[in-house]
Amino acid sequence: MNNFHTASLEVGTLVESLLFYELWNEYISWSLLIGIFTFGWLFHHSFWYTSKEGEDWENPDKIEVGVFPRHNDDMTLEVAWTILPFILIIYLTYISWAPLDAVWTSENGGNHGFECTEGQSSNNQMDMNTGIITSDCYHVLEITGKQWVWSFECNPNDDRWTGDIIPDRGFELSTNLCDIGTISIEGYGMQPLLSLKAGETYLAVMQSEDVTHAPWVQILGVKEDVQPSHKTTLWLPMIEASESMILCTEYCGDAHSLMSAGLSVHN
């Protein structure tokens, strides 16, 4: 279990998603700008326009008890700080758009193409400017949540969930591409382990057998609820080798905090 987070982008951080950090950095820059502007203004006015001892203050607004005071407004300023934040949020929405498409891309010809045929590799690539990953094709696997254990299936074709997302593809994924085992994690005990291959992209098709759960694939910084009423999906584009954890992040009862799994990505 050594060297499992050596590939982290930031010291002490387990999340590896460049997609996340590109947005994070942009948002932090704007937050700092707004913070400096707002707090600078607040700081200045808090100390500049203070009441001095013994000073006779002007009463420009005619404040008197029982009398609605004179209006203190400036249409230009008020419109300005309606329009400017509006423009900023349009910009922030715009830059969030492509990442949104990347995390929820279609399984039919989206960023990751269509399901791989036998022996085909995803050959995924990350755009180093945006963190968006594209692939030639993807492999389908199955994640099932139940109180309080995750289970994985590399070759889902049982008829429990017949539907259009998991076709009977007629071949099995090799254990090199997808394998299931167990791992002992300190504090969590013996937990299931999902082994995947770097450079390959996976589509997890998920359902719950009891209540709502949500796998948090920490290394990718993604999660999606697992519902008993319908199937949900989650993209797992694996770029490089790593060892990390999957936690449950939708409260599911007693042992919610210990419902976990290992995720091992090998070259």
Partner: protein
């Protein structure tokens, strides 16, 4: 029997009933009834223990070695078991720590802490098994149950004539461990102490009002007046006290949560206890602390600010209040016996209707239904009061901003809370009579709950923040000796927030699997919330421009609010960006964000309100030095609690997890090693923050007893509440004379164009819907 005796007896009977309600779950709400399987753990043969059966356990050390494996032999002698019977006996062993395992085919392991015999093992009177000691210091308890069997099971007589008995054994740790306090005992003790302090305070305040007549004869009408009053000021005070009391209770639970999280892998609370504590912490803080505090000030100030004698429906108002303590009792039902609600304040389906959720959840739902009723009645009352009881000369656009904020908040609440009520009733029916609204297996839809809950839940968080906006508008303007900048844009911004609040709730469900189109739309609308909130922040800052800021404690809290609320607002903008939200959802980043908004926003706003209006409410000034000390200690420790949580969330700390593990060179965890230090820092800061607020309590008590007398308008405000005396008379304004209110104040306006008495056609239509034509009503008085 005289009236006093009747009152005294009624109060005693009521108290007994309330106590019975609080403690009855102790005997009824174990999952399996009073007998309790956890104690016996086995399918014991016979109703009571039998002295003739003597269980034995061999191989246990007095003091164990870390992680060492021990072979134990359990068995029994005596009872009806004799050689030659078809079956001889059975056992069940439970160990509080370490791991039990089977040694051969006669023993089976149910889980790491429980083993029992197998079918083959039925033919024996002793069994061997393995126990691995824990790697740390624990006081360990073993409970062994054995059945002595007469062997007639196969012959159709079942277990008749069989006998059983129990043995308890203890093993000590290598290093002596102090017995750990039971968290429930800690919690209940603290709550009982708080309640006793409250009673002492009330009694002392009564004593101070007239030390010479400190006896039951004068106390009884005094306390009955408080318990039955419909005066908006008295009901407001009751709301305020209830809110402060539950703020303390919620705070105690927060401290227990922080003790648990202070170090990785802690076991101060079990998972089960932790789940109940965070559920009740959230529910208490939102519904039993924030809402009553807001209602306390709304009750007090709205009639005063609009120049009305009281609220429009005073008796409905008293009923709204009294529904709350009863609802609170139901919400807390079961917590002391370990079966309180454990669903999170959001109560997501289908967990909330599943059998794994505690039985206390049913009572939690019932209590929430009472709060829904209370809030609906409050909504009707305030909307009516503000619409029809404004003083002459006060148009909609001359109302003080705090009154506007209460109007907007109640409108939002009134329109959203029915959805929550419907959801709660459905859950209640699912839990008690077996309907299937949320059972996916029977065609129910668990996502329906999320929709109903968040359609209410998101407006609800604005319901608790918008009144704080009202307070800050009043305080900043008064302290800066200016009119609030852009009064009209302030009103439109609040109304805008009210409208937008209904179309953004989907952002709580970005990972739920609901329609991607809906998720996309709510991402856009969520971004929009920044616009009206931005307007308000900039307007407050501009209000200070060319003002003459007077530094009082309420001014400090208002400036502190501007800092923390802005930070909370900025962190809120990270969530609509989907690729970040998928990481942040259910992480500590969310916890940091909403505590910045709800504590740094709502609570700081209402701390400001306490310092601002306390002199008006009690006629006594608060101590400014204690106030400044309270601000400094609380503001700093508050930021120490919640600021580091942002980083923990980014690192990957999940909320609602009772513990966490850090990564080291040897072992994998979900968090980097630095997370442990930061969690300890947060826990220490949480204690400082909690105790810093006692400065406020001390200040209030000190001021009520010997505070300086307050003038009518200590801060120089313009609105009507500063026109009347401190404290105001009852009725607050005017006199009731021959079926009519006379001597009500009239609002003047220093603006040339006075639009107050000239409502627009839309407003006239709205008023025609709400106002009865008094001239055609027969006055019954």
């Amino acid at each position: 029997m005289n009236k006093t005796k009747i009152h005294a007896r009624s109060i005693i009977v009521m108290s007994i009933l309330l106590l019975a309600m609080a403690f009855s779950p102790l005997v009824s709400s174990f999952p399996t009834g009073i007998s309790g399987v956890k104690d016996s753990g086995c399918n014991c043969h016979g109703a009571t223990t039998s002295e003739s059966v003597i269980p034995t356990i061999e191989g246990l050390p007095e003091v164990y070695n870390y992680s060492e494996t021990y072979e134990l032999t359990v068995g029994f002698t005596g009872g009806p078991s004799t050689i030659g019977n078809i079956n001889l006996g059975g056992f069940h062993l439970w160990a509080s720590e370490g791991e039990l395992a089977s040694n051969d085919a006669t023993v089976q392991r149910y889980n790491p802490s429980e083993v029992g015999h197998t079918e083959i093992g039925n033919d024996q009177t002793s069994w061997t098994l393995i126990w691995t000691a824990p790697a740390s210091d624990k006081n360990i308890e073993f409970i062994l149950h054995t059945n002595s069997v007469n062997g007639n099971a196969g012959g159709g007589a079942g277990s008749s004539g069989d006998e059983w008995n129990r043995l308890t054994a203890k093993v000590s740790a290598p290093i002596e461990v102090l017995e750990q306090a039971n968290p429930y005992v800690v919690l209940s003790t603290l709550i009982v102490i708080s309640a006793i302090l409250l009673v002492i305070t009330v009694t002392y305040i009564f004593y101070r009002t007239n030390p010479d007549s400190f006896n039951w004869k004068t106390f009884e009408p005094w306390i009955c007046e408080w318990l039955t009053s419909t005066d908006h000021k008295k009901v407001g005070t009751l709301y305020f006290l209830a809110g402060l009391f539950f703020l303390g209770v919620g705070g105690i639970m927060a401290l227990m949560i922080r003790i648990q999280l202070s170090v990785p892998g802690n076991d101060f609370l079990t998972q089960d206890q932790y789940n109940q504590f965070f559920t009740l912490h959230g529910t208490t803080m939102i519904f039993l602390a924030a809402m009553p505090l807001i209602n306390g000030f709304a009750n007090w100030m709205v009639p005063l600010q609009i120049g009305a004698p009281d609220l429009a429906l005073p008796r409905i108002n008293a009923m709204s209040f009294w529904l709350q303590p009863v609802g609170a009792l139901l919400i807390f039902t079961g917590v002391f016996s370990g079966t309180g609600a454990d669903t999170g304040w959001t109560g997501y389906a289908p967990y909330i209707v599943s059998e794994t959720a505690h039985v206390g959840t049913t009572m939690w739902v019932a209590g929430q239904i009472m709060l829904v009723a209370s809030s609906t009645l409050t909504g009707v009352n305030f909307l009516t009061t503000i619409a029809v009881m404004r003083a002459p000369g006060m148009g909609w656009m001359q109302m003080p901003l705090f009154t506007w904020s209460i109007l907007v908040a109640n409108l939002m609440l009134f329109l959203s809370i029915p959805a929550f009520g419907v959801g709660l009733v459905q859950v209640y029916l699912d839990r008690v009579i077996g309907t299937a609204f949320y059972d996916a297996g029977s065609g129910g839809d668990p996502l329906l709950w999320s929709h109903l809950f968040w359609y209410f839940g998101h407006p609800e968080v604005y319901v608790v923040i918008v009144p704080a906006f009202g307070v800050i508008s009043e305080v900043i303007a008064t302290s800066a000796r200016r009119t609030v900048f852009g009064y009209r844009s302030m009103v439109y911004a609040m109304a805008g927030i009210g409208v937008v609040s209904f179309i953004v709730y989907g952002h709580h469900m970005f990972t739920s699997g609901m329609s991607p189109t809906l998720r996309f739309v709510t991402m856009l609308t969520t971004m929009l919330v920044a616009v009206p909130t931005g307007i308000k922040i900039f307007n407050w800052l501009k209000t200070m421009h060319r003002g003459s800021l007077v530094y009082r404690t309420h001014t400090l809290w208002a400036l502190g609010f501007l800092v923390t609320f802005t930070l909370g607002g900025i962190s809120g903008m990270f969530f609509p960006s989907m690729a970040m939200d998928l990481h942040f959802h259910e992480s500590y980043f969310v916890v940091a964000h909403f505590h910045y908004v709800l504590v740094g926003g709502t609570v700081f706003g209402f701390f400001s309100a306490i310092y601002y209006w306390f002199p008006k409410m009690t006629g006594r000034m608060l101590d400014e030095r204690l106030g400044v000390l309270h601000f400094l200690t609380a503001f700093i420790s508050y930021n120490g609690v919640f600021w580091p949580m942002h980083r923990l969330g980014v690192w990957g700390m999940a909320r609602r997890h009772h513990t966490y593990f850090i990564s080291t060179e040897e072992a994998m965890g979900s968090l980097p090693a630095e997370a442990a230090g930061w969690n300890m820092f947060i826990s220490v800061s949480a204690f400082l923050f909690f105790f810093s607020n006692f400065l406020l309590i001390a200040n209030m008590i000190k001021s009520v007893i010997r505070g300086k007398k307050a003038p009518a308008d200590p801060w120089g405000g313009w609105s009507f509440e500063w026109m009347t005396s401190s404290p105001p008379p009852t009725p607050s304004f005017g006199h009731f004379n021959h079926g009519e209110w006379i001597d009500l104040p009239t609002l003047k306006d220093s603006n040339e164009e006075h639009i107050g008495n000239d409502p627009s056609p839309l407003v006239k239509w709205f008023q025609s819907l709400m106002v009865l034509d008094d001239e055609n009503e027969e006055v019954n008085n």
